[in-house]
């Protein structure tokens, strides 16, 4: 009797937690992301511009706060703070002493770019799929999301975005721009 109950529980556990098995998928990734209330990481971003003979390198921090606040702070080679909260985007460049703010509603293409990171961190599959055709591959400790913009307006800027990581931690975001320019952001999580 007891062993019967046990095997039932084991079956249930398998069904409820596919992450332990072969069936680890996009929904599972999203669920795991959605469980993280906030995160703060450091990044190194390398930009390969076609017009330059050498890449540009940016360093700074990236933080996310549920449900929709995302801050990207570039510290070197200049000081620039990009804050997105809901629809509001602000860009403060301390080096140049400039400040701009706008609404993502005004700039649908920019909104899509923001969601590639924010919706991924939020674990919001619906939002992600609203802007991109999403292709998931890999396993829990080495997954990869390939994002292709749905609208031509966004495709005019971005060809594709590839986010890869392990569990609830994105580690690398590669953006391939329509101009042929490319940027790779490597994310370093504190402690790991």
């Amino acid at each position: 009797m007891i062993s019967g109950v046990r095997s039932w529980l084991a079956l249930l556990a398998l069904a409820a937690a596919p992450s332990f098995g072969q069936g680890w998928n996009l929904d599972a990734l999203m669920a795991e992301m959605a469980a993280v209330p906030a995160s703060r990481t450091r990044f190194v971003e390398t930009r390969h511009l076609a017009m330059l003979t050498q890449p540009l390198e940016l360093r700074g921090s990236l933080s996310y706060e549920r449900p929709h606040r995302l801050v990207k702070h570039v510290e070197t080679p200049f000081d620039e703070l990009l804050t997105v909260d809901g629809e509001a985007l602000s860009l403060v460049n301390k080096t140049k002493g400039e400040k701009r703010s706008l609404s993502l509603r005004e700039q649908p293409a920019l909104g899509a770019l923001v969601e590639s990171v924010r919706a991924t961190l939020a674990g919001d599959r619906a939002q992600l799929e609203r802007h991109y055709r999403v292709q998931f591959s890999g396993r829990r400790d080495a997954w990869r999301l390939h994002l292709v913009p749905r609208t031509t307006a966004v495709r005019a800027h971005v060809e594709s975005i590839t986010v890869s990581g392990a569990a609830a931690r994105p580690q690398r975001i590669e953006v391939l721009e329509s101009t042929g320019d490319r940027s790779v952001m490597t994310i370093v999580h504190d402690g790991k």
């Binding site: 017009m51 620039e80 140049k96 609404s103 509603r105 005004e106 649908p108 800027h157 101009t179």
Partner: protein, 757 residues
């Protein structure tokens, strides 16, 4: 004396006249240009302002708001509406904040950046200057906002395009989904420029109709702007004039039926006024080549007085007496009454307002025809049959009260004195000084327009500088020379800002100077190579730049036609306008903090003061013409009454009544406009009738009583007609109705109180 001698000939001539009038009317064009009711202008500056008000680009702008759904659907509706209107031939341009509407501008800016950017002259393309620009660009390439820079850098390394954009007016509404919205996000906003002038009411109506048709009927569309004003007041005036004329006509008809109890007599009473309207309108159409829709509406009310002429005769008939016999007795007085009213219209006929001149001709010819038809045609139509078998008489109590009114004559003098004191003390508030108030636009429409304008960031301009020149270029060069001075005024906080056409597109001379400063291709290439030494740019990245500088040199300066279909082009059309034989550049000034300091440094036009001056000048003309009309009336009365005292006796009650009614109108919060003045002329005509008839010597008490009754009836019909008109929601019709109601009542009472008999 009257037509009873040769009735058939009179009737035949009348029918011929009606036939001719009918033929003319069948070939008449009704126009709806509201500008005809704007005052004419004395100075070139005023002419310019009025031309702009009438048909300038500003007058052709329609503001459109779409609401009634979530912002995503509204943004979609805004795009669909803009696309539909752009494909229509009624609109020169449509803007909704979307990129679609700005594509032409971007292209023009891009192509002409080396003549439009203020930095493009001078040493911009020397090796050191290029080096500095490239280093700055390199530092910026990695920033978040560098997307546009990266795309543009190979073509425009010195950032001229950005400089051009920075100089464009910044104020623009909030955006959602890429198009303009109100701050609360409930309404999508569009700005459309019609092809037709703003005062062309019919064409504007068509354009507005196209806007409404192009939007999903489930959504709410609001349209505002001068064109809407024109169309709305035209339809409202027409509708009100017809509806209220019909209502008051029906009321008068009922009253007359009650009194005469004979439909035949009542029908006869309407013959003169209908003839008057027909012939008067035909006369206007003959003299002016068209008839203004508003003239038509007002004219009918103006000669509404003529409906009283037959009554004076009919009510004078004793039992068994024919109309001809009664008319013969009353004719000398009636003739004088008709002629004084005709002269009253002279004031309007000589006015320099085209619209007023039409009204004047319509009322003069209409009243004259109505009077002549009453005197010469009605007896023939009426024949020998008696008007009535019973004696006409008013209730005894009413009669007694009227006779007692005479003991109140001191009161009339006291009232007139008080009125005079009030008018003199409030002389400053007597006249309407706001040109905008002259437009027959209902207040709610004006309020809606102000709100939409605020949302679109289009501020009201009060101060502007007018730079005139014999040619477009001369005016532009004059305006260009002002820029340094204006910047200095902004720095000193005398003004907050200004809108100068040459900041956007310089004069051809300045453009040529910038073109001349562009280096030869070989020099530019050498400079660029020196500047690039040691910088991490790929070889050949800046080939597009080298190519496009050369293209710019070949393309030459930006002409007016190169901006066709652009938003900037529309803006320039409002700022650079033909003026008389030359051109003028308008430079609106914003946030004027110190008007005196400003006036001391640059010649400033204060639009408010200018429009007040314009109206004051017009008032002077109106008053002078009114004095002329009054003088002519007094002369006519002197001729007709052959007695100076009698003239004073007739004119005095009317003058006092006008004084008292002006004070009453002011106490009611009305500011007098041209339309009140028209109404006052009408009051004068009606008042003189009362005064003449009250003062008429009658042989016996019986005749006297009949005359009194006639006066009651005519006063009642007048009040019925004009009190009805006062109920109109249109400010103009309301003003006329109110003024005539108050004035006619006052004139009746003063005439009764000051009558000799």
């Amino acid at each position: 004396m009257t037509g009873s001698k040769r009735p058939r000939l009179a009737v035949a001539l009348w029918l011929l006249l009606l036939a001719l009038a009918g033929w003319q009317l069948a070939h008449t064009r009704v126009v709806a240009d509201l500008g005809a009711f704007l005052p004419p202008s004395a100075t070139p500056a005023q002419q310019l302002l009025l031309d702009q008000m009438r048909s300038g680009v500003a007058s052709r702008i329609l503001l459109i708001a779409v609401s009634g759904a979530d912002d995503e659907r509204l943004a979609e509706a805004s795009r669909a509406l803009a696309a539909k209107l752009r494909s229509s031939e009624l609109f020169a341009s449509v803007q909704n904040g979307g990129d679609e509407g700005l594509r032409a501008d971007r292209e023009a800016f891009m192509n002409y950046r080396y003549v439009l950017s203020p930095a493009a002259g001078g040493e911009r393309f020397s090796a050191p200057a290029l080096r500095a620009a490239l280093e700055a660009a390199l530092a910026e390439l990695a920033t978040q906002s560098a997307g546009a820079l990266r795309a543009m850098l190979p073509r425009d390394p010195t950032g001229e395009l950005r400089r051009i954009f920075e100089r464009l007016p910044a104020a623009s509404p909030a955006k959602r989904g890429g198009v303009w919205f109100t701050g609360d996000g409930r309404r999508a906003l569009l700005v459309a420029e019609t092809v037709a002038g703003g005062f062309d009411a019919l064409a504007q109506e068509q354009a507005i109709g196209a806007v409404h048709q192009a939007v999903d009927p489930k959504l709410k569309v609001e349209v505002s702007g001068p064109g809407v004003f024109a169309a709305a007041s035209r339809t409202q005036i027409e509708r009100d004039a017809w509806l209220l004329s019909l209502a008051s006509g029906a009321l008068v008809l009922l009253l007359l039926l009650r009194i005469y109890r004979r439909p035949r007599i009542v029908a006869l009473c309407f013959v003169p006024v209908v003839s008057g309207v027909l012939v008067g309108t035909a006369a206007v159409s003959l003299a002016f080549g068209n008839v203004h829709a508003i003239t038509l509406g007002f004219g009918a009310t103006l000669i509404g007085e003529a409906v009283d002429y037959p009554s004076y005769a009919c009510l004078n008939a004793g039992p068994g007496e024919s109309l001809g016999r009664a008319l013969e007795r009353i004719w000398p007085t009636l003739r004088l009454a008709v002629l004084t009213t005709v002269l009253g219209g002279l004031t309007m006929l000589l006015s320099s307002f085209a619209g007023l001149a039409q009204l004047g001709l319509l009322s003069m010819s209409g009243v004259l025809v109505a009077g002549v038809v009453t005197g010469y045609v009605l007896p023939g139509l009426a024949g020998e049959r008696p008007v009535t078998e019973r004696p006409f008489a008013a209730p005894v109590a009413l009669e007694r009260a009227t006779l007692r009114a005479r003991s109140f004559s001191p009161l009339v003098w006291i009232l007139a004195f008080i009125a005079l004191v009030l008018l003199v003390r409030n002389a400053g508030k007597l006249w309407e000084d706001d040109l905008a108030a002259m437009s027959p636009v209902p207040e709610p429409l004006k309020a809606a327009d102000r709100e939409l304008r605020r949302e679109l960031g289009a501020p009201d301009v009060r101060h502007l500088i007018l730079v005139q020149g014999p040619s477009r270029e001369a005016a532009l060069e004059g305006a260009e020379a002002l820029e340094a001075k204006l910047d200095q005024l902004v720095a000193r906080k005398v003004i907050a800002g200004y809108d100068l056409a040459t900041r956007y597109v310089p004069s051809l001379a300045e453009q040529q100077r910038r073109l001349d400063a562009l280096p030869e291709p070989a020099t530019l290439r050498t400079n660029l190579e020196q500047a690039l030494a040691g910088l991490p740019f790929q070889r050949g990245v800046f080939e597009p730049f080298l190519r496009e500088v050369e293209q710019s040199r070949a393309r030459g300066p930006l002409g007016e036609g190169d901006l066709r279909g652009t938003v900037l082009g529309i803006k320039l059309q409002t700022l650079v306008v033909p003026a008389g034989t030359g051109w003028a550049v308008l430079v609106p000034l914003y946030g004027v903090a110190d008007a005196q300091a400003l006036g001391a440094e640059v010649p400033v036009l204060d639009l408010k003061a200018e429009s007040e001056r314009l109206l004051a000048g017009y008032r002077l003309e109106a008053l002078r013409l009114t004095a002329l009309g009054m003088g002519a009336i007094v002369l006519l009365l002197a001729f007709g009454l052959r007695n100076a005292r009698a003239v004073v006796q007739v004119v005095l009650p009317v003058a006092l009544a006008l004084l008292i009614s002006a004070a009453i109108l002011q106490a009611l919060g009305q500011r007098l406009t041209v339309f009140h003045l028209i109404a006052m002329l009408l009051v004068m005509g009606i008042g003189l009738n009362y005064s003449l008839f009250f003062d008429r010597p009658e042989a016996d008490l019986l005749l006297r009583r009949r005359l009194l009754f006639a006066l009651y009836v005519t006063c009642a019909t007048t009040l019925l007609a004009f009190v009805t008109l006062a109920f109109s929601s249109n400010p103009v019709l309301h003003a006329i109705g109110l003024t005539v109601s108050v004035g006619a009542a006052a004139a009746f009472l003063t005439s009764a109180a000051l009558a000799r008999r």
